[in-house]
C-alpha cells in the first residue's frame, strides 16, 4: 500500500477522540436506535395494552380486560380471513412481477446507449408519486364512461368491449396489480442496477478467460453476488406490498363487495372508520407476527454469511 501523506498519521489523538475511538461502535448505533426507541416504545406498549382490553368507541370509556377476545373477534370475521389469503397472493404476485421486470430492465439498461440517461430519469418518476394518487389515476383510467381503458381495449379487440375493468373479476385484480407494478418496478430496477454496478469487472474477465458462456457468467458470477441485494429488495418490497393500503383506498375502496380487501384496509376500517380499536390492534399484532416470520426466513439467508465469516 502506498504510504499516505505524513501529517494525517502523526496527529496525537486527544482524550476525547480516543474515547470516541474505543466506543465508536456504540456511538454510531445510538442515534438511530434512540430515535426508533423513543418513537416506537410508547406506541407499541400502548398497542399491546389495547389489544387485550375492550377499546371501542361505541362501547364507552371503560377498558376492562378481555383477554384474547379481540383476537378471536377477527377470526370470526370471514372478511379478515379472506383478506389474509388475498394479501398473500397479491404481494407475492406483485413482487414476483416487479422483480422479474426490474431485473430484466436493469440488465437491459446496463450498457450505455444514447438517450439512456433521459430514460432513466423517467423510469424513476413513478416512485415519487404518492400511491394514493397512483391508485386514483388508475381508477380514472378504468372507470366508465370517462375513462380510457375501454377505448384502448376497443382499438385492440374486434367488436364491443363491455368489460368493466374496475369491477369485473378478474380485471379488477389485474388493474390493481398493474398499478402496483407500475409504481414499484422502478424500485427494483434501481436497487438491482446499483447492485449490478457494484460487481467488479475482474470477475467477469476471469470467467471469460475460463471460457464461460454469457449464461454461465450470469449464473455463477452475477446471480450469487447480486443475491444479497435481491434479498434486501424482495424483503422490503414484500413487507410493503403486504401492507398494501393506499392503492386499494383510492382505486376500489375494497370493492366490489369485499373482493379487494387487503388486511391493511380491513384493519384501517375496523380501527379508523368504526373505531373498534381493540379488534383492529389485535389484528395488527397478528399480522405483524405473520410478517415477522416470513421476513425472518428471508433474511436468515442474508445473515448467514455474517455468522460464517
Amino acid at each position: 500500500m502506498a504510504s499516505r501523506a505524513e501529517p494525517m498519521t502523526r496527529r496525537r489523538p486527544s482524550a476525547v477522540s480516543s474515547w470516541m475511538d474505543r466506543h465508536v461502535r456504540w456511538l454510531l448505533v445510538t442515534p438511530a436506535a434512540l430515535m426508533v426507541v423513543a418513537l416506537t416504545i410508547f406506541p407499541l406498549c400502548f398497542a399491546v395494552w389495547v389489544a387485550f382490553v375492550q377499546y371501542d368507541f361505541s362501547l364507552g370509556d371503560e377498558h376492562p380486560w378481555v383477554g384474547l377476545d379481540n383476537f378471536v373477534e377477527n377470526w370470526k370475521d370471514p372478511v379478515w380471513r379472506a383478506s389474509l389469503w388475498r394479501t398473500a397472493w397479491f404481494s407475492v404476485t406483485m413482487v414476483a412481477i416487479e422483480l422479474g421486470l426490474g431485473l430484466l430492465l436493469a440488465l437491459a439498461m446496463l450498457r450505455p446507449f444514447r438517450g439512456r440517461r433521459v430514460l432513466m430519469t423517467f423510469f424513476v418518476v413513478p416512485l415519487f408519486i404518492s400511491p394514493v394518487v397512483v391508485g386514483g389515476f388508475f381508477d380514472l383510467f378504468v372507470r366508465r364512461p370517462y375513462g380510457v381503458a375501454n377505448q384502448l381495449a376497443s382499438w385492440v379487440w374486434p367488436g364491443d368491449v363491455t368489460i368493466d375493468f374496475s369491477q369485473d373479476s378478474p380485471w379488477v385484480y389485474i388493474v390493481l396489480i398493474m398499478a402496483d407494478v407500475w409504481q414499484w418496478t422502478p424500485f427494483m430496477f434501481v436497487i438491482l442496477l446499483a447492485g449490478l454496478a457494484a460487481i467488479p469487472d475482474t470477475l467477469y474477465e476471469a470467467a471469460d478467460l475460463d471460457g464461460a458462456k454469457p449464461r454461465q457468467a450470469f449464473s455463477f458470477v452475477t446471480l450469487p453476488l447480486l443475491m444479497p441485494i435481491i434479498l434486501i429488495a424482495v424483503t422490503f418490497r414484500l413487507i410493503d406490498a403486504a401492507k398494501l393500503f393506499d392503492i386499494i383506498f383510492s382505486l376500489t375502496r375494497g370493492g366490489p363487495g369485499t373482493d379487494t380487501y387487503t388486511t391493511s384496509y380491513y384493519l384501517y376500517q375496523q380501527g379508523f372508520e368504526f373505531f373498534h380499536l381493540g379488534q383492529g390492534t389485535a389484528g395488527a399484532w397478528m399480522f405483524l407476527i405473520m410478517l415477522t416470520f416470513i421476513s425472518f426466513w428471508l433474511v436468515r439467508r442474508l445473515l448467514k454469511p455474517v455468522e460464517e465469516a
Binding site: M35, F42, F128, L140, A217, S264, A284
Partner: protein
C-alpha cells in the same frame, strides 16, 4: 487485489467487460430495445394521461369518448390546485419534511449500519430489530402516535407535535431508518474491510477511517438510500393525514383531498398538483441517475 490507484487503465477495459457482462444480450440486441420500448410505453401512458388531464377544461374532462388531445388547453387547474386546495402549502411542507428526513435517516442509518457491519454491534438481533420496525401495520400505532403527539407531548414537553413539520420529520425518520440501515448494511458487508484495515495500519483512528475511506466508497449505496428515504417521506399519506390539520399538510394529503373531494373527484386539479410535485422528482431523478451512471462507467467498487 486490485490497486485503487489504477483506475484509469481499468476504465479502458470497461468496454470489453461490459460486453462480457452484457454479452448475454448481444444476440438479443433488438429484443432488448423492443423490451425497453414496451416498458417505456407502459410507463408513459399514465403519465401522459395525467399531464393531459391537468390541462383539460371541464368540458373535456367529462366528455365521452375521452379526449386525448384537448382542443383548448387551460391552466386553470394549476391555479386552482395551488391556490385553492392547499397546493402551495402542501408542496412546501413536503419539501422541507422530505429533505430533513433524508439527511437524518441517511446520517443515522449509515452510522448504525457501519457499526453493525464492521463491529457486529448487537449481533444479528439488533439488525433484525431495525427491520422489524417496518412490519408494523400503521393502524396499530397510529392512535397512540396521535395521542403521543397531541396530549402527552403537551403534558411532558409543553408543546404539541400535532400539525407540526418537526413531528412529521421525526416520525418519517423512524420509518426510513429500517431501509437506510439495511441498505447500507448490505453495502458495507459487500465491501471488504481490507481497505480500512490498511488505513488503520497507517495510523488513522477508526473515525478517520470511516470518514476518509468507507464513506466515499459507499457513495452509490448512500445515494440510493437517500433517494428512498426521500421518496418515503415525499409520498407518505396515512400518518400525514391523521397528524396534520392545517399547518403541516403535505402534498399527498392535499392530493388525496382533491381525489376524495366532496364525495367526488377533482382530477383536473389533482393531476395539476401531481405534475408540479413531479418537478422536484424529475430533478432529483436526473441527479440520482447521473450518480448511478457515473458509478457504472468509472469502475465499480474494487476488490
Amino acid at each position: 487485489m486490485t490497486d485503487i490507484t489504477a483506475e484509469r487503465p481499468r476504465a479502458e477495459q470497461r468496454g470489453k467487460s461490459a460486453a462480457v457482462r452484457g454479452g448475454r444480450f448481444r444476440v438479443g440486441g433488438l429484443l432488448r430495445f423492443v423490451f425497453i420500448a414496451i416498458y417505456t410505453a407502459f410507463l408513459l401512458l399514465p403519465l401522459y394521461w395525467m399531464a393531459v388531464t391537468s390541462i383539460k377544461s371541464q368540458e373535456d374532462q367529462l366528455s365521452d369518448p375521452p379526449v386525448w388531445f384537448p382542443g383548448d388547453p387551460t391552466s386553470i387547474n394549476y391555479a386552482e390546485a395551488l391556490n385553492r386546495y392547499n397546493g402551495w402549502k402542501g408542496l412546501e411542507n413536503s419539501l422541507v419534511v422530505a429533505f430533513v428526513t433524508t439527511i437524518l435517516a441517511v446520517a443515522f442509518g449509515t452510522a448504525a449500519a457501519y457499526s453493525m457491519a464492521r463491529f457486529r454491534t448487537g449481533g444479528k438481533h439488533l439488525a433484525f430489530w431495525f427491520l422489524s420496525q417496518r412490519m408494523m401495520p400503521p393502524i396499530a400505532i397510529i392512535i397512540p402516535v396521535f395521542l403521543l403527539y397531541s396530549r402527552y407531548s403537551e403534558e411532558w414537553f409543553g408543546f404539541g407535535l400535532i400539525d407540526t413539520r418537526i413531528g412529521l420529520i421525526l416520525l418519517y425518520t423512524v420509518f426510513a431508518l429500517p431501509f437506510t440501515v439495511w441498505m447500507m448494511y448490505a453495502y458495507f458487508r459487500q465491501m471488504p474491510p481490507e481497505l480500512e484495515e490498511a488505513a488503520l495500519v497507517d495510523g488513522c483512528s477508526r473515525v478517520q477511517a470511516l470518514r476518509k475511506v468507507a464513506w466515499p466508497l459507499a457513495a452509490p449505496g448512500i445515494i440510493s438510500a437517500a433517494a428512498f428515504a426521500f421518496i418515503l417521506s415525499w409520498t407518505e399519506f396515512l400518518f400525514a393525514q391523521v397528524l396534520a390539520r392545517n399547518e403541516a399538510v403535505t402534498a399527498p394529503v392535499a392530493l388525496a383531498g382533491m381525489i376524495t373531494f366532496f364525495q367526488g373527484n377533482l382530477y383536473g386539479q389533482a393531476s395539476a398538483l401531481t405534475m408540479v410535485t413531479l418537478i422536484p422528482a424529475v430533478i432529483l431523478g436526473a441527479l440520482f441517475q447521473r450518480h448511478l451512471v457515473r458509478g457504472l462507467t468509472l469502475g465499480a467498487v474494487q476488490g
